[in-house]
């Protein structure tokens, strides 16, 4: 009984803080104010526009010793608690363990990171665009100002996750249950969001263009604080739901 009461109390407090306190955002931003964005060398292949990956002068596609790069990437991930300014783009990294790691300014573009674990991780200003993140666990992680455009999140777990100021354009969040999550200021335009559930989530200024909330989401999250964009042929209308 006590545990249930504590949980309810915690969720109410969480909800009130997340929903109504503008200072919370300021504190969040003050805590993680500075974000140095990535500065990687270009792939040495003259026709390539990609950036070079870790320990290589080439992008992953043009690297000659791909197995070695995969091993090195996995070693870097397992050996370091802080991952800063690494380019892992296109390197297959499925079943990796990022638990409790601090990840900032890293590239995971077009990576296969399926069935990985990001529990308790802090992810700031990192790029995961067009990656496969199926079956990945994001419980208790804090993700800010990161790019998840075109990512496949199907069967991933989001519980007590902070996912603010994130770019999730076109992300596949079909049938995902977000539980006690903060998705404020994140952008989910053109996301695949059929049957998604937001339970006790903060959706303040979360941007959607095509979303139908189920009863559970409407009752337990601040769905009326989202920004819904209605794109028609020549105009865009912005309104709250």
């Amino acid at each position: 009984m006590t545990i249930i009461t504590q949980k309810i109390y915690y969720s109410i407090v969480n909800y009130v803080i997340l929903n109504n306190c503008f200072i919370f955002y300021i504190l969040l931003t003050l805590m993680f104010l500075m974000r140095e964005f990535m500065n990687f060398k270009k792939c040495q292949n003259p026709d390539c526009l990609e950036r070079s990956v870790i320990n290589s002068d080439f992008c992953f596609d043009h690297s000659k010793d791909k197995p070695s790069i995969i091993i090195q990437a996995k070693k870097i991930i397992s050996d370091n608690d802080i991952l800063k300014s690494y380019n892992f783009s296109k390197i297959p990294l499925s079943n990796s363990d990022f638990t409790g790691k601090s990840i900032s300014q890293c590239y995971f573009s077009h990576c296969d990171i399926s069935d990985s674990n990001f529990s308790n991780a802090i992810i700031i200003s990192s790029m995961f665009d067009f990656s496969t993140l199926t079956g990945t666990i994001f419980n208790n992680s804090q993700i800010k100002l990161s790019v998840f455009g075109g990512v496949d999140f199907s069967t991933s777990q989001f519980s007590d996750t902070i996912l603010v100021f994130c770019n999730m354009l076109g992300a596949n969040i079909k049938s995902i249950r977000f539980e006690n999550c903060d998705l404020s200021h994140s952008r989910l335009i053109n996301s695949i969001n059929d049957d998604v559930t937001f339970f006790n989530c903060n959706l303040k200024k979360t941007v959607f263009n095509n979303i139908t909330f189920n009863l559970k989401s409407l009752k337990s999250s601040n769905c009326d604080d989202i920004i819904r964009l209605d794109f028609t042929d020549d105009t865009v209308v912005e309104d709250n739901i």
Partner: protein, 194 residues
Amino acid sequence: MKVFTIINPETISNIYFITDDNQKYGIIIDPGSFAINVYKEIKGIGAEIKMIIVTQNIPSKTRGIPLIKKIYDAEILSHNTDILNYKSKRIKEGDLITLGEIAGNVLETHLLSFDSISLVFGNSIFVGNLMEAGKFNSFKRSDKKSLIINQIIKKYFIELPYNTIIYPGKGPATTMEIELNFNPYFIRMKDANK
């Protein structure tokens, strides 16, 4: 060249600080109110502000300039020649901006106002309030604006490499690849070109 993003806590908008590789000097784009935390972060980076670029002459982007001018000997660049009470160097379409090893050029993206510009530095484009991830920022529900957006996309964005990082004035960064696939404006443009 390094790009730092600092959040302006008053308006929850982005301030960008571009420095050389050794973080000795830099350009600040849209300094906002230049709150104390922003100053501390810039001090932490260690680079001296040599140049201020304003992408649009509105108070939320310029309010902190007097303070910056007191601390640093920084030149102001904008499309508008008067920023607050300071004379600024006018920059226009195609102008090259150089500061040591940092080099970029100017695009006149007059969507929001006559003086709104965008800046291309390396494989990054700083668009100010022109757009946010997934949408362009002026939708006054008029066909004229829509037409201007189409012109801007055609003229400046379609030709950019797909891995160009777009740094908007508000919200998270995005890439051309994401925008081409999921931004309704770009999708419409692609469909029209088919």
